[in-house]
């Protein structure tokens, strides 16, 4: 049946159905009431980088090699290597700043890191009141534990852990082999020296 | 209300004079038309005042006022259409510049 104003009437019917339905069927409402409830972010979603440490924040995986600082396209990373009193490099960052107002979340730092140290976070609540200093993430803000990494991205973290473990085992095996070779060469087997 | 009729008549006369002055002195055709509207309205005010003070038994004065308002509306419609036509022709609404009909 076709009558004048059919489209208008049908439109009114649809909006009326939406209006009434939104009170009875909660799944119609697409709005998330943000501070009370949050959307579960997908596992591979990413916001800004953070630094992973294994046991304690004093010993991050990062060695301050500055590869990420060089590779970062918008140059938002600034690293100073820590040195001891004699000026000997300690292979850990003294300063590690990421300006998240500049960072474009490209994940290139993660790609280039040889130590699986820098990873992408999925924490999206980074708004601050200031425009400049508040948006620079310092080393203490950036350091997060491996457990946290495992929590936010289980699959990826498990893969990384497995890889690191394999690497460590390979390294240990290599060391053991080298030690064994050395022991064979010196014919003095240092039993139990490699665990 | 104890305003004598003369007050209304004098008010209408003043308004009429103002409208006349506007129609005579201004060069812009639209303001000339507006002056004519002022004169129209003052005349209609006279009609209504006379109706109220002397001839309230019959509504004839109001009818005349309504007719006058209708005529004034028609006049202003045609007048403004003419102004627009003149503007299209001369690119101006200045009545002093329309000299083509001068002898």
């Amino acid at each position: 049946m076709n009558y004048p104003g059919k489209g208008l009437v049908e439109g009114l019917a649809i909006t009326a159905r939406n209006f009434v339905g939104s009170y009875f069927y909660k799944d119609r409402l697409t709005t998330v009431q943000y501070p009370e409830e949050r959307v579960q972010t997908p596992e591979n979603s990413r916001t800004f980088p953070f630094l992973v440490f294994d046991e304690s924040p004093d010993k991050p995986r990062c060695t301050a090699c500055k590869i990420c600082e060089v590779e970062c396209p918008p140059k938002c990373i600034y690293i100073v290597m820590d040195r001891d009193d004699k000026g000997k490099p300690l292979q850990r960052p003294k300063v590690f700043d990421i300006d998240i107002s500049v960072c474009m979340q490209c994940q290139i730092c993660v790609e280039v890191c040889p130590f699986e140290s820098i990873k992408m976070d999925n924490d999206y609540e980074k708004s601050r009141y200031g425009r400049f200093n508040d948006l620079v993430q310092r080393l203490p803000d950036l350091l997060k534990s491996n457990a946290y990494y495992n929590k936010i991205k289980p699959a990826e973290a498990a893969e990384v852990d497995a890889k690191l473990k394999a690497e460590a085992e390979a390294k240990a095996a290599k060391k053991a082999a080298a030690a064994a070779a050395a022991a064979k060469a010196t014919a003095v087997p240092p039993a139990g020296s490699v665990t | 209300m104890n305003i004598p009729l003369g007050h209304y008549l004098i008010l209408a006369a003043i308004l009429f004079a103002i409208g006349l002055a506007g129609a005579l002195t201004r060069k812009n055709a639209i303001i000339v038309l507006m002056g004519i509207e002022v004169m129209f309205n003052s005349a209609i005010l006279n009609l209504v005042a006379f109706w109220q003070y002397k001839y309230f038994a019959v509504p004839t004065a109001q009818l005349f006022a309504i007719f006058a308002i209708a005529v004034a509306a028609a006049e202003s419609a045609v007048g403004l259409a003419l102004v627009i036509a003149v503007y299209r022709h001369y690119k101006s609404v200045d009545v002093d510049e329309m000299k083509e009909l001068k002898g």
């Binding site: 004048p4 009114l12 909006t15 939406n18 209006f19 339905g21 939104s22 119609r28 409402l29 709005t31 | -």
Partner: protein
């Protein structure tokens, strides 16, 4: 006013007459200035919530329980905002326009009866007064647009003026139908004529063939005159930024919003008075209880009309400018004129069923003719060269 005077005079017998007179004078004014702006504030909230629900969202629900304090928060926010006046604007006119835009909206309520005898002024020419005052907002709109010295403002103002002037004609003609049927211009009498019948309902003018057409015309005209969706071309955001109120901020902008809503509600009130029987409804009548029920009925109907406005706003898309003018002059105006003839039929054909049949037939035939004549060209299936 007289009724209020009577009530007060009988209730407070020992109060001097002049005090009662002043009170009877002030109460309607206080009512108009208090109740309708309050309804406006509530309407902004309800509208936002309803539009949200129509789009499957929650509306504002943060400030207070169910967001009930949202209008207060909005008002506070807009009061604290900076009031910016463009440097090249015509300062005085720019200032005057938002002040003037509220006045016509409030003036219309003077003649809208809310209960038996409860009308601020029972003018003999009430309907005409409401329609005439409603058109005065045109001037304020034009002042706002012109004084801003902004091409979008001027375009919006010119659109608004053209729209209001065009839609005023069919609206007034639709009102003429009611005036002819009621034989009076007084709003109070028009409402009284719609009383009686079954449950005080069956005599509403909307339940007459010509009344239904007039009702539709009046709603459309009211929407267009208050520049509400789907006739919100004067402030079409996608084309004109904000239309005539582009250059207004802070409290002046709030006044524009208020003026628009008040005008829309005023048109809704006049529609209720003319077609929906005003305060008439089951249980309404004189006396205190009947008066309260009458008032309730009036406000229920007003809320219904406002709800209809919101529903339409949430559904229909905006018209194009040529469609807007064509609709007013080619559809609504002929229909309104035909409607007046229909009232004549209704008045002079004596057996009621015959009047029903002939009036309905006349209107339906003309409606079909008008829709046929104004049907847009059939769109052919488009062939695209590059798919």
């Amino acid at each position: 006013m007289e009724t209020i005077y009577q009530i007060l005079h009988t209730t407070f017998a020992n109060v001097p007459a002049w005090a009662v007179q002043i009170a009877a004078f002030l109460i309607p004014i206080a009512f108009i200035f208090g109740v309708y702006p309050a309804i406006f504030a509530l309407t902004t909230l309800v509208e936002r919530k309803a539009l949200g629900r129509i789009q499957n969202r929650y509306g504002p629900n943060r400030v207070g329980i169910f967001g009930i304090l949202q209008p207060l928060a909005d008002g506070l926010k807009i009061l604290l905002k900076e009031d910016i006046v463009p440097r090249v604007a015509d300062k005085f006119t720019h200032f005057l326009a938002p002040v003037l835009i509220v006045i016509p909206g409030l003036l219309v309520y003077l003649v809208v009866p809310v209960a038996p005898g409860m009308v601020a002024v029972d003018l003999k020419i009430g309907v005409l007064f409401a329609l005439a005052v409603g058109t005065m907002s045109v001037i304020a709109l034009f002042m706002a647009g012109w004084a801003s010295r902004n091409k979008f403002s001027v375009l919006g103002a010119v659109r608004a003026v053209a729209q209001v002037v065009s839609y005023e004609v069919p609206t007034v003609m639709a009102g003429v139908a009611v005036i002819m049927a009621a034989g009076t211009l007084s709003t109070l009498t028009i409402v009284q004529r719609q009383g009686g019948g079954l449950l005080n309902i069956s005599n509403w003018y909307v339940f007459r063939p010509w009344g239904l057409v007039g009702f539709a015309l009046f709603i459309i005209g009211g929407l267009a005159e208050s520049a509400r969706c789907p006739f919100d071309l004067p402030e079409a955001e996608s084309e004109l930024i904000g239309g005539y109120h582009t250059e207004y901020s802070g409290f002046k902008f709030a006044l524009f919003q208020m003026g628009e809503y008040l005008a829309g509600m005023a048109m809704a009130g006049v529609t209720v008075t003319l077609f929906l029987g005003g305060y008439m409804g089951p249980g309404s009548g004189p006396g205190l209880a009947g008066g309260l029920i009458s008032m309730l009925w009036f406000f229920v109907k007003l809320a219904g009309m406002i709800g209809l406005n919101i529903w339409i706003r949430g559904t229909w898309p905006r018209l194009r400018v040529d469609q807007l003018m064509g609709f007013a002059w080619k559809v609504l105006l002929p229909l309104a004129l035909v409607n007046i003839v229909a009232v004549g039929f209704w008045h002079f054909l004596t057996p009621r069923p015959l009047a029903w049949i002939i009036t309905t037939g006349w209107l339906v035939i003309w409606f079909l003719v008008l829709t046929k004549c104004n049907a847009s060209a059939k769109l052919e299936k488009r062939e695209y060269r590059y798919v």
